[in-house]
């Protein structure tokens, strides 16, 4: 079996509602539900002053709370906790830059955008691009498509080529 560095990423609210879930390891629906239920419960039970790391099954769980939203990442045992915490933070920075002072509502109503950003930042469980500028550039280019959906095809291609 191969190993990705990040096994999955979950975003959930203080009420325990999932806001985003991304799985980088193949798991059945049932397992996914069980894992997220277990983890959400465990993490919500922890107090604010406690540390951001857990050892859970054979994974390391790294989580951080931003306002009402918890970001939680599961990594392999040999991975570094601190660097994972910074991955979470960089993702939050990206969201913040994209939405402009991001809040939970942005993520709820535009969760597909949040997924797009995540896909540009992490790919297949590994960090793909750590430059903030490059990630946002990629997203903006794809978004331009959306806005000018009615524009003729050749223009699209030009945008793509720039």
């Amino acid at each position: 079996m191969y190993k990705n560095s990040i096994n999955f990423m979950l975003l959930f609210s203080r009420q325990g509602k999932l806001r985003l879930q991304k799985w980088y390891v193949p798991l059945s629906d049932k397992e996914r539900k069980k894992i997220s239920r277990d983890l959400v419960q465990t993490i919500l039970a922890r107090k604010p002053k406690m540390c951001s790391f857990l050892e859970w099954r054979d994974l390391k769980i790294v989580y951080k709370r931003y306002a009402s939203l918890y970001f939680c990442c599961a990594v392999e045992d040999q991975d570094n906790e601190l660097i994972t915490l910074e991955i979470i933070h960089r993702y939050v920075e990206l969201l913040d830059k994209y939405f402009g002072s991001v809040c939970e509502l942005d993520i709820i109503f535009n969760f597909e955008k949040a997924y797009f950003i995540l896909d540009e930042f992490l790919l297949g469980g590994e960090a793909q691009e750590t430059s903030k500028k490059n990630v946002l550039k990629a997203i903006e280019q794809a978004d331009l498509l959306q806005e000018e959906a009615e524009a003729p095809r050749s223009v699209l291609e030009e945008i793509g080529l720039t």
């Binding site: 193949p26 951001s52 809040c103 939970e104 109503f109 790919l123």
Partner: protein, 1115 residues
């Protein structure tokens, strides 16, 4: 941390207030309505109803032909949302694929996203996506290509990789960096799921590594990390490149936007560091160390593997301190963790932080607490064991199952080890039994079964003193009887099993305790509902032991009646035993002698007593037994006739032979030979009868007959002897005084200090910490530590025997003096876990191997001036070209006895300002010699000592001279690559000792020698060997005779001995130094070579198979 983000996030209300945000949010959309609808609901039930309604409506719309792609996109987003809330929307999966296929770019994007969220890698619908991906990869629209590559890197059906591989490969040359980056990541994914598919593009990975875009380069590192982990050998040449990249990153050469809070590309740094740790870092030790220190202070990544470099350790100790003392809880956690890693080798580090550690023990966060306990466990020694155990027990009830198991287990090891080793010191009997009772009752059924087992073993084997043993057992009996008299229903099953065993075995020790009382107590257990049937059979066993002399007849009778007809066969068996044995005293005494725990039990594992039965069955026409793998093999061969020659000569009357050799492959080939098809038979007939005759002669009856005897022997299963403690308690007391702070302090502080002093006692001495070999449990690397034991005697004589030139007498004297300075050092023999990437299936070449070095031989040569100059000139840049020069120069120092032999390239192992350490290996007929060259670069005398398993004598090297040590290597346990790790310690006359570590890796093939046997001997040996492996290898088919060609290649590359080639088959033999044979049988089959390797040595066939494969592939 960016405070701005946090502030903006906290400033906003957590709950939904929709009015203010409505412009930004798509509140008018249907998704908006859905989300709003859900938030207004109060109960879970209502939510369910709403979502079901929503799903029905989505379902209707997606299947309607009038729905436009644009609407479809909207619907898909809603479906994703419903799935996220935990409601299944599987009907939409197929539509997601359709959307990805038919939509325009922006709809595609949602389609692909939905696919990647809905389906996992193994979903069958994914096959439908392949065409879409293919089309998009060829699109002229970059965004579409990006989307396709993104989805490919996340999930793609393994079987379909070949279909898109060329297109993805092509993208590596794309002008846009984002495409190149994604293509590299897609290939990384392919590499992970199907490594053999991307083998041919390794060169392109190199190009990606050199890409001018840092993103593409970073992406390629994922692949390299993976590949280097699997084969560190293969990428040594890249090490310098990685170091250069790391230097550039650290030096801030990357664009500013890669910075993360003013740290240049931290993720990239960590990634590079990880790679370098797998490469031969030791070689580049100095360079990397400097960089590591930088990184370590940032991210603390590498503490564990790096802690062996003293320089780094010193630096990191400082930052561990900062971390541990930090007020930020996350840093504290990491500090504790790092401390846990290093404390084994450097227990004194813990001393500096003892008060912090004590505070952490009372931390409200259980995770911190647990980490602290883990740390304490690492520093456990005989003196503080009871305090630490007490702390751990306090903690037990709060832990989750998994943690609990870990702790209990470790705790138990501590207990066992110390009770063996320091019995007088360690806790007394009562303490021991009571602690274990607590462990059992709290740990309950979650703990691994080997814990109670080892506890029982400990009880039955006892310690040195008979009296102590008796007391211990007696106390256990007393304590368990009182437990049973209390509320046994609350005790976990495992504990009940332990209790019944102990009572059955030892309750006779307490004379005033009547067997009948115990029996009644045990019978009570049987009546409890909660008792599992496993426990019941333990109880019944105990009762059988106790029912002597008609004690408690009524109880036994009753029990027998109840369970004699139980549906559980085990229970019924036990009940029957109880009944019979309780009536027949004599038999009972023979079957269950009292206090027989210590006598080894004889078990006939070959089941020879069944031979009569088996041969009868065979005579009656039953099929002979075949092991599962043989059955499988037979299935595979069912269609083709086996042509194995040694199959034919066997007597066809199988009944006589099958008992003797159930495992033998020959039987199998007989049976498959008999059942073979006609085409192959005729083919065989065509290959002349002459050969068949030859076969008969070769594999004659004699060869087989000689194999018949060994079945008789019966195996002895002996209870292993108690654990031996690896070393004794050191001079612990001397250091104790340093740990205590003498300044008077207020009361609570004093308590803590008292605790500290009891916890950290005995830490000063190194030996107390490595007492238990705990290193193995933490390092998790494949490293094993062993103390060098062989003393270095007779060094001076050997020096005087030196071959090339005679050293001056002055040196001689100095040398003798220096012999006294005994520098201890360790050897770490490590083996690298290797998964052969080249093989089709998962190769099984894993394992730990031991390399044994024997004998050392030294000589010193004084080089000529010219050579000196050459080397000095080369020295400033040791990693570059001058290596060749040095190689030439060092070659001249090879001992004369080796001059005729071919030797490997001389590789530098470790280089620093003073020493230049290189080595090469030579293949001698009967051994493998490792020759190490130590070159003293500076103008001073220097004494040194090289230690592997055996310490070499301390030797002295004059300035600019080369000393040569020679070792003979043998392999204890085979593995694909063998690595010798050792330490060179050296000292200047008036200086402190230094040491440098080195490792030298060589393939297993260096240890392989031809084995000359005749075909008869081969046949006899074949049956003897129990470890085997089979695989199909590619054939070298450029010549007339593919089999002969292939075997010749193997013979040339791996030094095998081709015994004989008969028609389509060939037999080959070789041996692993010194004399561990391995036999190989090859057969041409459908254009491939079926190879079957057998050997008495475990792992050897697998490793050799790997090398055969490599050899043929490289050809």
């Amino acid at each position: 941390m960016s405070d701005v983000v946090e502030k903006t996030l906290t400033a906003l209300p957590g709950l939904l207030s929709l009015d203010s945000q409505s412009t930004k949010l798509s509140s008018t959309s249907k998704l908006g309505n859905l989300i709003r609808g859900i938030t207004e609901l109060t109960s879970k039930h209502e939510e369910e109803k709403l979502i079901q309604r929503e799903l029905t409506s989505i379902k209707e719309q997606v299947s309607s032909p009038n729905t436009s792609m644009r609407q479809m996109k909207e619907l898909m987003v809603r479906a994703i949302y419903c799935e996220m809330l935990g409601y299944e929307a599987s009907f939409s999966y197929i539509h997601a694929i359709k959307l990805a296929q038919q939509g325009t770019a922006l709809e595609k994007r949602v389609g692909y996203l939905a696919v990647s969220l809905f389906l996992n890698e193994s979903h069958e619908l994914l096959l439908l996506l392949v065409n879409t991906v293919l089309k998009d990869l060829q699109s002229t629209n970059l965004i579409e290509v990006c989307m396709a590559l993104t989805v490919v890197s996340q999930m793609f059906p393994k079987d379909m990789i070949p279909a898109i591989l060329p297109l993805v490969e092509e993208k590596l040359n794309h002008p846009k960096e984002i495409i190149r980056r994604k293509a590299v990541l897609a290939l990384y994914k392919f590499y992970l799921i199907a490594p053999n598919q991307v083998q041919h593009i390794h060169n392109k990975f190199r190009k990606a590594l050199c890409d001018k875009d840092p993103g593409v380069m970073t992406a390629s590192l994922h692949i390299y990390l993976q590949m280097i982990q699997e084969n560190p050998e293969g990428y040594k040449d890249l090490t310098t490149s990685f170091v250069t990249i790391l230097k550039q990153v650290v030096g801030g050469k990357l664009p500013m936007d890669f910075n993360y809070h003013s740290v240049p590309a931290p993720w990239l740094q960590i990634q590079l560091l990880r790679i370098l740790l797998f490469c031969s870092t030791i070689f580049l030790c100095r360079d990397v160390a400097a960089l590591c220190i930088h990184c370590v202070s940032l991210f603390f990544y590498c503490i564990q593997p790096l802690s062996s470099f003293p320089a780094i350790l010193y630096e990191s100790a400082k930052c561990i301190g900062n971390f541990v003392l930090s007020l930020k809880i996350n840093l504290k956690y990491l500090g504790l963790k790092a401390l846990t890693y290093v404390v084994q080798q450097h227990p004194k580090l813990a001393l500096q932080h003892q008060m912090t550690i004590i505070e952490c023990l009372d931390h409200p966060d259980l995770i911190i607490k647990r980490e602290t306990l883990e740390l304490l466990f690492r520093i456990t020694n005989a003196q503080n064991v009871s305090v630490i155990v007490e702390k751990m027990l306090e903690f037990l009830p709060f832990l989750k199952i998994m943690l609990c198991c870990c702790i209990i287990y470790t705790l138990f090891i501590v207990l066992i080890l110390f009770s063996y080793e320091e019995y007088t010191y360690a806790p007394d009997n009562e303490w021991f039994i009571e602690t274990m009772s607590t462990v059992f009752s709290v740990g309950g059924d979650m703990m691994q079964p080997d814990i109670p087992n080892s506890f029982l073993k400990l009880l039955s084997e006892g310690f040195d003193s008979v009296e102590e043993d008796r007391k211990l057992r007696l106390f256990a009996v007393d304590s368990y009887v009182s437990l049973l008299q209390g509320e046994p229903g609350k005790l976990p099953q495992r504990f009940l099993q332990v209790i019944s065993w102990v009572l059955g075995e030892y309750s006779y020790l307490r004379e005033e305790l009547e067997a009948a009382t115990v029996l009644r107590l045990l019978a009570k257990l049987l009546d409890m509902k909660s008792t599992s049937s496993e426990t019941k059979s333990w109880v019944l066993m105990a009762m059988t032991k106790l029912c002597e002399g008609g004690a408690g007849v009524s109880v036994t009778q009753e029990v027998c009646e109840t369970y004699g007809s139980s549906l559980d066969t085990v229970l019924r068996q036990r009940a029957q035993e109880l009944q019979h044995l309780s009536q027949d005293c004599e038999l009972r005494a023979r079957v269950l002698p009292r206090g027989a725990g210590l006598e080894p039990l004889e078990v006939d594992s070959s089941l020879s007593f069944l031979d009569g039965f088996v041969s009868e069955a065979l005579a009656a026409g039953a099929a002979p037994y075949k092991a599962p793998h043989q059955r499988q093999e037979e299935l595979a061969q069912a269609k083709a006739l086996s042509l194995e020659p040694y199959g034919l000569s066997l007597p066809i009357s199988m009944s006589s032979c099958s008992i003797a050799d159930r495992q033998s492959p020959t039987l199998l080939s007989v049976s498959s030979g008999l059942s073979g098809d006609s085409p192959d038979l005729s083919h065989k007939g065509g290959s002349t009868t002459l050969k068949l005759d030859g076969v008969k002669r070769v594999w004659g009856r004699e060869g087989y007959l000689s194999e018949r005897e060994p079945v008789e022997e019966s195996a002895h299963v002996e209870v292993p002897s108690p654990l031996q403690s690896p070393s004794q308690q050191g001079e612990a007391d001397s250091s104790q005084s340093q740990t205590l702070t003498p300044i008077p302090t207020p009361q609570p502080e004093q308590e803590k200090q008292q605790l500290a002093s009891s916890l950290f006692v005995g830490l000063g001495s190194q030996s107390s910490v490595c007492l238990m070999g705990k290193s193995e449990s933490t390092t998790q690397r494949f490293r094993r530590k062993a103390k060098g034991t062989v003393s270095s005697s007779g060094a001076s004589e050997q020096i005087s025997n030196s071959l090339a030139s005679t050293p001056s007498t002055a040196n001689h004297l100095l040398c003798n003096n220096l012999l006294d300075s005994n520098i201890t050092s360790d050897l770490a023999v490590s083996s690298l876990e290797q998964t052969s990437q080249l093989s089709q299936g998962p190769a099984a070449a894993n394992g730990i191997c031991d390399v044994e070095l024997t004998g050392s031989d030294m000589s010193e040569t004084s080089p000529t001036l010219i050579r000196d100059n050459g080397v000095v000139a080369a020295d400033p840049a040791p990693h570059e070209d001058p290596d060749k020069l040095k190689d030439l120069c060092l070659r001249t120092h090879l001992p004369a006895e080796f001059s005729g032999l071919c030797h490997s390239e001389i590789t530098p192992l470790c280089t620093n300002q003073t020493l230049d350490f290189s080595a090469c290996h030579l293949q001698k007929e009967d051994s493998l010699a490792l020759v190490a060259f130590i070159y003293n670069c500076i103008l001073m005398f220097c004494s040194f000592q090289v230690s592997c398993v055996c310490d070499s004598p301390v030797q002295e090297a004059r300035s600019h001279s080369v000393a040569v040590c020679q070792y003979s290597l043998t392999v204890k346990r085979p593995s694909v690559h063998v690595e010798v790790v050792g330490t060179a310690s050296y000292q200047f006359p008036a200086g402190t000792p230094h040491s440098a570590q080195f490792s030298y890796k060589l393939p297993l093939t260096s240890f392989i020698r031809p084995l000359t046997v005749s075909t008869e001997e081969y046949g006899a040996m074949w049956l003897d060997f129990s470890h085997d492996t089979k695989q199909k290898l590619t054939l070298i088919s450029d010549g007339q005779e593919p089999l002969t060609d292939t075997l010749n290649v193997l013979k040339k590359k791996l030094q095998l001995h081709v015994v004989e080639i008969i028609g389509m088959e060939g037999i080959v033999a070789c041996r692993l130094l010194r004399d561990q044979p391995c036999l190989m049988h090859c057969r041409l089959h459908a254009g491939t070579l079926s190879v079957w390797l057998r050997s008495p040595v475990p792992d050897l066939p697998d490793c050799l198979m790997y090398h055969c494969q490599r050899a043929l592939q490289e050809h």
